[in-house]
Symmetry: C2
Subunit: 363 residues, 2 copies
């Protein structure tokens, strides 16, 4: 593999990078104005991300945009719920063939009815009418995909968040995996015809993902575990398993998971030990790894460092950068945030598929 090193000379910032995989770089930046019509997009940062349509210079937000944030029980669950649906969508709607748009069909009022318990006043409720049974369905999010040429709706993704613990009553109620799966599948069967009936949806493919919302104190956050596609009408294809994991590092002794098996856990512990001696006091250190189909996609590490001078931060960032480079010889991405009093003051990034590292001190 050809490697071309580059060094950038800039005052008071640190940056290191080696650009590799030049053979792969066939892509070109997509212009902001699309070929046909008047559509303008956000532009594309890399070929693995969607361009989003913009209307008159403004991003088209979802009418239900404020709902998910207020209903999910932690930011960890909220982030995994959002990101996971984008990942799932990419399998169905290729980023080079579709534009992204925030979900436009599900409104706050509609969702409030659907997410409530079924009752004589609310026949649309998708949670059990029996008040003794836990609330399983917590939230529904929607993403839209537009055909690049016609700029017309060409696909919809729906993320269905299901509680592993229901906190809505006086006491928290645990819900078994079987109940979650069964309820999730039944809910999708009920939602599908309702979606098809909404004006403008028509017969575009819809992909549904079932998301297991983990306990509110779980710093890993939940994950998608199943998906199903409806090509058109009220017919669903076969359910597919979704294999994604968020693993908190280091892995507890004796636990066997992807990070323990592939050596990422050992590398993380080496890295942590290497870094922790640097300053007399280092107040926080946490890590998490994201796996998809048992392949490590990204490690995220957050370091809380107490420094007093820019020079200390610069030296520390250099040391972190070199430690990432020498220890994390992994195919996935590595991202280290260096925080000071909770505010990000520097970042170190190793992109997926690369050996070299980019570091940036903010000041």
């Amino acid at each position: 593999m050809k490697k071309a090193k580059w060094f950038i000379f800039l005052a008071s910032t640190l940056m290191l990078s080696a650009c590799g995989n030049l053979e792969n770089s066939g892509g070109q930046m997509t212009p902001e104005k699309t070929g046909t019509g008047e559509a303008v997009t956000t532009g594309q940062i890399n070929s693995d991300s969607y361009q989003a349509l913009m209307i008159e210079g403004q991003y088209k937000t979802s009418p239900a945009r404020t709902m998910a944030a207020s209903r999910m029980n932690s930011n960890y669950n909220l982030n995994n719920y959002d990101k996971g649906l984008l990942e799932l969508s990419k399998e169905q709607f290729a980023t080079d063939k579709y534009f992204f748009e925030e979900g436009q069909f599900l409104t706050v009022n509609l969702l409030k009815e659907w997410l409530a318990r079924e009752s004589s006043e609310n026949k649309e409720g998708l949670n059990p009418s029996d008040g003794g049974k836990p609330v399983i369905l917590q939230q529904i999010i929607e993403q839209n995909f537009m055909d690049k040429d016609s700029q017309k709706l060409a696909g919809i993704s729906i993320g269905v968040a299901l509680n592993s613990v229901d906190y809505s009553g006086d006491a928290a109620v645990e819900i078994s995996d079987e109940e979650i799966i069964d309820s999730g599948k039944k809910i999708v069967e009920k939602i599908l015809p309702r979606l098809r009936a909404l004006e403008g949806v028509g017969d575009v493919p819809i992909i549904f993902g079932l998301f297991n919302q983990s306990r509110e104190d779980d710093v890993a956050g939940g994950n998608y575990f199943a998906s199903v596609v409806s090509k058109k009408g009220d017919k669903l294809a076969d359910w597919q398993a979704v294999d994604e994991e968020y693993i908190v590092l280091p892995v507890d002794e004796g636990v066997n998971n992807s990070a323990a098996e592939d050596g990422v856990n050992v590398k993380y512990k080496d890295f942590k030990q290497n870094i922790q001696g640097f300053f007399p006091n280092l107040s926080g250190f946490s890590g998490k790894a994201y796996y998809r189909n048992q392949q490590m996609q990204k490690i995220t590490i957050i370091i809380e460092a107490k420094y007093y001078h820019t020079s200390e931060l610069q030296s520390f960032t250099q040391f972190v950068g070199n430690s990432v480079r020498s220890i994390f010889n992994v195919p996935g991405a590595v991202e280290v945030q260096i925080n000071h009093l909770g505010v990000t003051s520097a970042v170190v990034m190793k992109p997926a598929g690369e050996a070299e590292v980019i570091a940036q001190v903010f000041n």
Copy 2:
């Protein structure tokens, strides 16, 4: 100029970069273990930054490290004071010939005496004995530079912070530029023999920088305005002007400064207008440019964005990245931080000397 584009494919992160200036990239990563002896350094992120020496895996902090942070009147002044001295040092002590070490000679007790008013109990005080006169000398910081081969002390930098406004009394007292310059030069003449007398300093070159600490409510922060070198002994060379500016963007109407003259101000206003329409509400937008010898080195822009979904943040970051790329065709660096509730959630960086942009969403 040869340009080689690259695209990185990574799950749920956005990254774009084109690597240019391959002709310039003669450097190699410096190993963490140095050639001679047992010295270990932080490693080097780019050739424009210093490697710092580490002792037994730990960074050697300064005995006076906590002092500057508590004495400077704002973080803007503190950052400019620290960074500016590093920039000044680079002119005297090349980053490829010297290792960096935090200042080891000035202790908290020594500085407390020096920074106080002169009195019969404290003959070392460098501020006026006359209580009716303002406190001009606010702080002294020190940086050490070690010869790469011998790993022995080979140079010292001293930053002398002088108040443009003295807040120590009941009322704030403004101090004229002439007073600041005169006092600063006299203080350096007094400090030099005291430094030479400290054990271990010997006859290494010492560079002094005079820093003008701006008002506590000035978001630009102060800057260095003069420097002088003592090659050895108590002799000072001629004073040199230091030309560095921190300019808050946009520049007020009618004001003439480097950013108004070279077009950076217009580009900033275009950029801001382009970005501000994106979301229905964008709560904060601020910018600053750093100039050295009238050349723009770096623009820093901080955007406070209220978003509800990861997909919104990703789309926004793409749009910001493409706007930076299309609007800021400048030789200097551009750094945009995208914050959410005060926490950095994404960054966009255009390195100095490059046309392309790197973007990263943290999640």
